[in-house]
């Protein structure tokens, strides 16, 4: 759905459900996942419907993902880090991390 206007110079690599994804240093997890074209960040707890970011500025919580085992993280607010492991948030996050 999106393509880079400026080439990514020295990318860092993050992993979404095991798939390596190049990211620009300093950008948010949501930005690089959108560029990579992942079809959903989370599935809703009620209907299981797929969601992608809607606002990108921390208001809608539709970008929730699991980051390093910690569920319900706002991907549009968290910056990428080399080797970061992200998973689709399936339903509600459990207590003490994990989805």
């Amino acid at each position: 759905m999106f393509a880079s206007v400026v080439p990514i110079g020295h990318p860092v690599t993050i992993h979404f459900d095991g798939r390596p994804i190049p990211a620009r240093e300093g950008e948010t997890v949501a930005a690089c996942l959108m560029r990579a074209g992942v079809p959903a960040f989370r599935r809703t707890p009620v209907s299981g419907g797929p969601r992608l970011p809607y606002c990108m500025i921390g208001h809608c919580f539709d970008c929730l993902v699991e980051i390093e085992g910690q569920g319900s993280q706002q991907a549009c607010l968290v910056g990428v880090a080399e080797g970061m492991r992200i998973r689709l948030q399936n339903g509600a996050a459990g207590v003490g991390g994990g989805a």
């Binding site: 759905m1 206007v5 990108m56 539709d62 910056g79």
Partner: protein
């Protein structure tokens, strides 16, 4: 009884929340006058949403040249302020910090990653900006439906442009600006569906003042270029729908009874911006409904001091919170800068009348824009199975049923339906539900009751809060047994 513990020492003279144009302008002036300033912002760098990513894009120089050109001079205009902000070394800037509580005694609760705590200052400036007006329409939760602000963020901070068929629906100058930015990047929107009508703009003409003319000319320029490029445009759109199974596949738009369907891969929506009231409301502000704006605003005194709602409060004493920028009154970037400088002048008790005059002048164009581009996508209330609460997936019919059955208190409906109880804490459903209730009762819309934390706070962070007030951690219960570790 042990001797009463001391109050914690203040961490700064002023805590500024938000590093957008208002927050940056205020903190630069305050710090240059010798005040100790802490600035908290959710984002990784300064600039706010309007100048999001500007610092990084400028640092990339020629590599980001095409992007900077597409984003245009209004975006580049933030460079001076960001430079001044970064150049004022005494400003203690803390990016990546979410604020989940503000108290009127000057206490601020922050969260960074899994760490959280309190900070205190003699004054707090709320410059937490605006949010896009929620627009519940059928299909608005489908992947591929995004706000104009979201797409701008991807453009500015993600340096990316949309691929495939892009449809834009809504109203206001940002819609034209975004379409023009796309055009410069070689993306031709398949449809620009506008809810505003020529009669809105004609009706707004009496509100036109000289200072508004440059922004009007800018808008006319965007529009002329879009027409010249032959971008399909529809006016007077009365309703839209996003259709698709697991993602948006088409935009349906109505003009009265006339239906048009346009296939698309991305649907960008925008219905204007409204003040972010979450922090002010959590701090106990009196929240007022602004009929013209169709949105809530925190009540303020003439110079921006927040007016608390009547009734009991956790803390007493004078209100030490001042509001600035779009969070106080929607005006756009230039007005927000003037607003930030004004709030600094008020706190420094110096040059306030000049800064107030500049602020008033900078807000003038807004009076025209508000009338020329009234809310459209949200003008009529949702019905049937259109989602109102995105988090809990509650539709209009269910809420309507409760309201008709006599539940006319918004907090009661929240309890009965879970509407507003998801992670966004009502940010996207409150105004719709409140307007649905108001349509029945004839009274002004009332928001949910809001209590801190106004953003989700991990339990682990809560358990290890830094900077607690020792006076509040020891509470003598009814049977005189001290309970330790309760911070109210």
């Amino acid at each position: 009884m042990p001797p009463f513990p001391d109050a914690p020492k203040p961490d700064a003279d002023v805590i500024v929340i938000g590093a957008g144009p208002a927050g940056m302008a205020a903190s630069v002036d305050l710090a240059r006058a010798g005040r100790r300033v802490i600035v908290l912002d959710m984002q990784p760098g300064p600039g706010g949403q309007i100048y999001r990513g500007l610092e990084a894009n400028l640092a990339e120089g020629a590599a980001a040249g095409a992007l900077m050109t597409a984003l245009g001079p209004a975006y580049a205009a933030g460079a001076d302020l960001i430079r001044a902000f970064r150049g004022t070394e005494s400003i203690d800037f803390r990016p990546g910090h979410t604020v989940w509580e503000v108290r009127r005694d000057g206490t601020v609760g922050w969260l960074q990653g899994t760490k959280a705590g309190y900070l205190r200052a003699a004054h707090v400036v709320l410059a937490n900006g605006a949010m896009e007006r929620p627009v519940p329409f059928p299909g608005w939760t489908l992947p591929g439906v995004m706000t104009a602000g979201a797409v701008q963020t991807l453009l500015k901070a993600g340096q990316m442009k949309p691929l495939g068929r892009v449809a834009i629906a809504g109203t206001g100058p940002l819609v034209f600006l975004l379409a023009d930015q796309f055009r410069r990047l070689g993306v031709r929107p398949v449809m620009l569906a506008r809810t505003d009508r020529l009669r809105d703009q004609i009706g707004a003409l009496p509100r036109l003042r000289l200072p508004a003319v440059p922004s009007l000319a800018k808008g006319a320029g965007w529009l002329a270029r879009l027409r010249l490029a032959g971008i399909p445009m529809a006016r007077g759109v009365t309703g839209i729908e996003a259709v698709g199974a697991t993602k948006v596949e088409a935009l349906r738009l109505w003009r009265g009874r006339q239906l048009t369907e346009v296939a698309c891969d991305l649907l960008v929506v925008h219905d204007g911006v409204v003040p972010s009231i979450d922090l002010a409301q959590g701090a106990g502000a009196r929240i007022e409904w602004n009929q013209g704006l169709q949105a809530w605003q925190a009540a303020t005194e003439e110079d921006g001091v927040m007016v608390p709602a009547p009734g009991a409060s956790l803390v007493d004493g004078p209100c030490r919170i001042l509001m600035s920028g779009d969070a106080r009154q929607i005006g756009g970037a230039e007005a927000a800068m003037a607003h930030g400088r004004h709030v600094a002048a008020v706190l420094l008790a110096q040059g306030q009348s000049a800064s107030r005059t500049r602020l008033r002048k900078s807000l003038l164009p807004r009076r025209f824009l508000e009338a020329a581009f009234p809310p459209g996508l949200s003008a009529s209330l949702p019905t049937g199975n259109t989602t109102v609460c995105r988090c809990e997936e509650i539709d209009a019919a269910g809420l309507d049923g409760l309201i008709r059955a006599g539940a006319q208190d918004i907090d009661q409906i929240r309890g009965l339906s879970r509407c507003g109880m998801g992670p966004c804490q009502g940010r996207h459903c409150a105004v719709t539900l409140a307007r649905m209730i108001a349509a029945q009762t004839g009274r002004a819309p009332v928001p949910f009751r809001a209590r801190p934390p106004v953003r989700p706070l991990p339990l682990a962070a809560l358990a290890a809060l830094a900077g607690r007030d020792p006076r509040l951690t020891e509470i003598v219960s009814l049977d005189d047994k001290p309970v330790v570790g309760v911070d109210v």
